[in-house]
């Protein structure tokens, strides 16, 4: 019987948390409960990053996905009174096939990466973690400068757009 390492055990446990809470997010009828499980799922992903020695990414995952995105969704939820009080079914019976191509597509990409690296681990997790912050910073400002700048411009445009949409239109007559 093959022995499993602590790391493999932890991965299994975390994967179970992520998948379990993701299933609950998609099936529970109370949308606030869904959000709580969504946060748990995000936390699990941060755990996977930690297992891969990506400490910076794990912290950013918590900061952005739990601290910002989940909170934003909760905020939006509290403003929509009707959704909050009723239990809604989430399944649309005629659309059950739609997630299938998406799932297959993600699987194809992951499988391609797996084959390309000959089934070898992409990240060295055997040794002690090295601080990744400096490496990520160097990479973003040298090799990946263009994508980094493009992403910043995209975010800026989205922000300006959101402000324009939310701003009162003063030129119109008060109706």
């Amino acid at each position: 019987m093959p022995t499993i390492t602590l790391q493999q055990f932890m991965f299994g446990a975390i994967a179970l948390v992520i998948l379990g809470s993701a299933i609950l997010v998609a099936t529970l009828r109370n949308i606030f409960h869904c959000l709580l499980f969504l946060a748990l799922s995000f936390l699990g992903v941060a755990g996977v990053y930690l297992l891969l020695s990506a400490d910076f990414l794990a912290a950013v995952q918590v900061l952005v996905y739990i601290g910002a995105i989940t909170v934003l969704m909760m905020f939006a939820l509290m403003m929509t009174h009707r959704v909050m009080t009723t239990d809604i079914s989430q399944s649309l019976t005629q659309w059950w096939l739609a997630p299938l191509p998406i799932a297959l597509g993600i699987f194809a990409v992951l499988f391609r990466v797996y084959v390309r690296h000959g089934g070898q681990a992409l990240v060295d997790t055997k040794h002690h973690a090295v601080p990744t912050t400096g490496i990520i910073g160097q990479a973003l400002l040298t090799r990946y400068m263009l994508p980094f700048e493009l992403a910043s411009i995209l975010l800026l445009v989205a922000m300006v757009g959101a402000i324009i949409l939310a701003k009162e239109d003063k030129s119109d007559d008060p109706a």
Partner: protein, 353 residues
Amino acid sequence: MQITLTGIIRLVFERLHIPANWVAPTVMLVASVIVLFFILFVVLYLIYGLRKIMGWIQARIGPNRVGPYGLAQTIADALKLLAKEDIMPAMADKWPFIIAPIIVFVPAYMVYLVIPFGKGGSWVAQDLSIGVLYISAILSIPIIGIITAGWASNNKWSLLGSFRAAAQLVSYEVPLALAMIPPVMLAGSMSLQGIVHAQQGVWFGIFPKWFLATQILGFAIYMMAALAESNLIPFDIMEAESELVAGFNTEYSGMKFALFFLAEFAGMFTVSAIAATLFLGGWLPIHPALSFIPPVFWFLGKTLVLIFVLMWIRSTLPRVRVDQLMSFGWKVLIPLALLNIVWTGAVVLFFPR
């Protein structure tokens, strides 16, 4: 030889013939229990201190009945709180109602992992290389607990309170994080011990090389955002008694209420400790000539001075209005914090260490 927790436990385990690979987990467990008791102790006497200081500032005496100088007052209050009935509102959403105080307390406790109480590895539970980022990430989690508490209580005061809380915490988290960036830039490290070490030395033989020297603006922004994050007056609109009964924790009683209270006061110590570390040189003495006083006293002393300032502000100022709070955060603090980052960039560029 320096006596460390790891050393003691290793020695005990050798004598008892317990395998050596049990040492590390035991050290973690013992350290976390020590930190928990430290938090409980600190919170008990912060509450006492707050009531006394507020009393003096408002020309009252404050608690003075239980024990000498009323020193046992908060212990009695805590026991009373534990003995109280734990009420669950009939229309509450059961399990979110129960986990909400836990979501609020656990991150407040987890932050203590990286706080450097003194020099060297045995005075900090784990000196993470991403320390500052870890703090901002962990401190963003309690908002979920507060919203959950307000929502699960099924009470309009609670919901309004948590609605305000979410808005306030999200807005003030941004200047708080932006004010934590300049010390990281100056030190070239996100580890809290690294930041303290970068502040060693004196200018002209007198002035300590603390980051406060170039970061007066950053320090002020940090303290204002910290006041808002630990929801103290003037930024306590989320539990404004005269408007909202008690805000998001209106329906909570007994142990669950105690957890919210614990998290709030633990947070007050945390933000002050981080301010002391980032801007006031952490456990470093004011002048190397004073280094005969152990580092941990310097650290606790600086932290307590900052806590006193927070309490002083709390007992002096009136509460701000919701819209004033929002516009101050977004239109004043955030632009100033960004400006401060640019200024720090200039400092790093023209005066490299």
